[in-house]
Amino acid sequence: MIRLLHRWPGLLALLSVLMLALSGAALSVFPAADRLTAPQAETSLSVADLAGRIAARYPGVEQIKRSPSGRITAYWFNGDVAEAATIDPATGKAVASADPNPVQRWLTNFHRSLFLEDGGRIVMALGALAMLVLAVSGMLLVARRAGGWRRWFAPIKGPLAGRLHVEIARIAVVGLMLSSVTALYMTASAFGLLPDQPAALAIPATVSGNTGVKVSAINFLQGTPVTSLRELSVPAADDATDVFTVKTDTGTGYIDQGNGALLAWQTLSGWERVSETIYMLHTGQGASVLGLVLGLMALSVPLMGATGTLIWLAGRRSRPRIHNNAPLARADTVILAGSEGGSTWGFAATLHKALHDAGLQVHAAALSSFDAAKLQHAHRVLILAATYGNGGEPASAKGFLAKLEAMETPPAAQLAVLGFGDSSFPAFCGYAQRVASLAAAKGWQQMPGVATVDRQSPQDFARWGSNLGAVLGLPLSLEHQPVLPAATAITLVSRRDYGAEVQAPSAILRFAVPKSSLWQRLAGAGFARFEAGDLLGVIPQGSTVPRFYSLASASDDGFIEIVVRRQPGGLCSGQLTMMEPGGTALAFLKPNPAFRVDGGKVPVILVGAGSGIGPLAGFIRANAQHRAMHLFFGMRHAASDFLYGEEMMQWHAEGRLTSLVTAASRGRRPHYVQDALRAEAQEVVKLIREGARIMVCGGRGMAAGVSQALAHMLAPTGLTPELLRAEGRYAEDVY
């Protein structure tokens, strides 16, 4: 919801917001320039003395004005000719032209009304409103992304465009909010919607009837410093009923031109003061440094417009376009997709097309947009849900379970749930199962059983489709070929071999990073940016199905590194472990945000065995901040498959690796990595109680053993691996 509030005003109002920001930034330099060029009065100078000096040189003086920058302008008549000039207050002499800067006037008129009077003012005010909505929704998004307001300045990860957008925004948002709020106030004031109109002060009915007082002798003006002056109007000498009018930063008064007495005085109202302050804050007139800062912040708008558009485009590209998507209000069939990386969206699109071709009115949307109240007209709801991690909700399903939990009456539409996952994981389709059982508990009528699609199997999907078709009485044929990200050929640079002697042939393979296009760098696509722990999808020759390997390097390292163990009969691992430097593999990058070292300071316990050391080695290599990292590493024999053995010593010496405990399953004293953990139980438990994070990478059996060992060790503390997982302190990358 907040994202929508951020995206659409951003894209729609981009033009008007851009015009406002650029003209505003240009205007911001004028108050500072004016402040620097205007001759300033000495602080002790009184209005009486200033007016006396000016009147001595220009006897026909009619009006003296002081701008917030301190510039004194006098207007007088030289015979019949109207003259005006900027005055040096020290001498009362004209020193510069009084004509307003035509560029500033042009920019001001453009900025506030596009030269279109009231209509233009409203357009620009709507632009300011859009800017305010963007600023507020953007702040909420930044806080949500950073994990709370207190982490406002926390480092950001992800594609360049997204990082730039947030980095700039979290500084500039203050200025943009101030500028937009004050702009809206000023528009309301200009249209007379605020009670800040200047109150009229009646001309006194009785005056002395004389003329000729010397302005320099007027008591009130002697007590008024020039620094508080706004304007002084001199009465017509031939009209004894006319009076001096003086306006200062506290009020307005009339002075008799016969005896110099103050005839009437009226202080500024509270509303007038508020309006003046708002005017100063918006224009920088009288606060030129603030004006420059606001102008500089306004310059961020074009940058944020460009990066924001890139983010939006990149997001659109990650999900397939759904053609003929019926509006929800007219749809008889609603498809809700809970997708993590976008592949489930691909299935949803195929399903949508087949149902649409069969003549149904089909609406497809993200599972997170679920609203039970809006499903009144639907006959059936089809939920396609992936699982994120261990039964967790996928990205496009955020908040769905909570909404389902809060739902009072289930929709009349029949529900079908199709889960997507990998049957080699314990919680296979765990999220879809949770959805189905909660829906059942809520009394939502559904087709029996949760159907599943294993590892994006087109066959599973087609089977589910024909069953669905039978229920609907429609011939439904779902032919889905998963769309893989575009793969790039990457070239092997070097390899190091281990473990042949202990029947665990493994290799550390280092590939060159392929060149990224400008678009890829901006949108974070391709190999432009990756972290240790992200996944490298490799498509072996003779297959279309990719295999995934955890990355042992980050883009900052300048190379792509993976650890591959040759599996007996493994197609992909066989090809990779046979490859010689110079050889190439077809590969693509798949981000894996769930298995990354966060930006915190708490210690990290890394547990890995065999080729599972890959991402852990990458974390240690990237640990330039010398965060405490404790590695538990299981292998077969230290003499044969101690992967990264050489680097470990160096990393330890550099402070990147705090401690290393190894376990060898062969040799004199065979034991496993979970045994090593148990042996250090006291230290491990202490670290965990102090807030340490645990990251486990390796085979399924090892991960289960580690979890079990930890559960046992933590029992006296009341902590469990599940609790730690829920707190985001226990992450696994298991294969």
Binding site: Q63, D99, R105, A190, G192, Q197, P198, A200, I203, T245
Partner: protein, 157 residues
């Protein structure tokens, strides 16, 4: 700009004349100089032979908050907008002409009444009494020079 208003002045008490009095259409035409600024606000009003405010003829400019810069008119009326009910129009651009046709009472002419024009524009000089011209039958059709904003003003019957 052409405006025609009936009995505009009859609204103001100072100018209530016997019902039998005759009125005639008078065209007021103010040509502005090319002063190079935003649109000017103009107040056209009449004073009697004692220099007392007698009534308003026209006010060009829509935002009441800026009326204070038309100092002569504002001081005379206290900024009372009921003085200009129905006799306001848009502000006038630099170098443009304001032309208004009103039905004015015959009794306004040759009786010592004077027509005043106050002018002001954003960030520029306030110019009360930019034009002051006696209302006489003989003076009709004769252009008068203004002091700051107005290059020439004519009233014609």
């Amino acid at each position: 700009m052409m405006k025609s208003l009936l009995a505009a002045l009859a609204l103001t008490t100072a100018l209530s004349f016997p019902a039998a009095a005759m009125a005639r259409p008078v065209t007021l035409s103010a040509q502005l100089k090319d002063y190079g600024g935003n649109n000017a606000y103009l107040a056209l009003y009449v004073t009697d032979k004692n220099n007392k405010y007698a009534g308003s003829l026209w006010l060009a400019g829509s935002r009441t908050r800026y009326f204070q810069h038309l100092a002569g008119w504002y001081n005379a009326t206290g900024g009372d907008t009921s003085q200009i009910n129905g006799i306001t129009g848009a502000s006038v651009g630099s170098g443009r002409t304001l032309e208004v046709t009103l039905d004015l009472k015959d009794a306004l002419f040759d009786q010592g009444y004077k027509l005043h024009i106050d002018a002001a524009a954003e960030n520029l000089r306030e110019s009360p009494n930019d034009v002051v011209v006696p209302l006489t039958s003989a003076g009709a059709g004769t252009p008068v020079k203004g002091r700051r904003y107005i290059s020439s003003f004519t009233y014609s019957m």
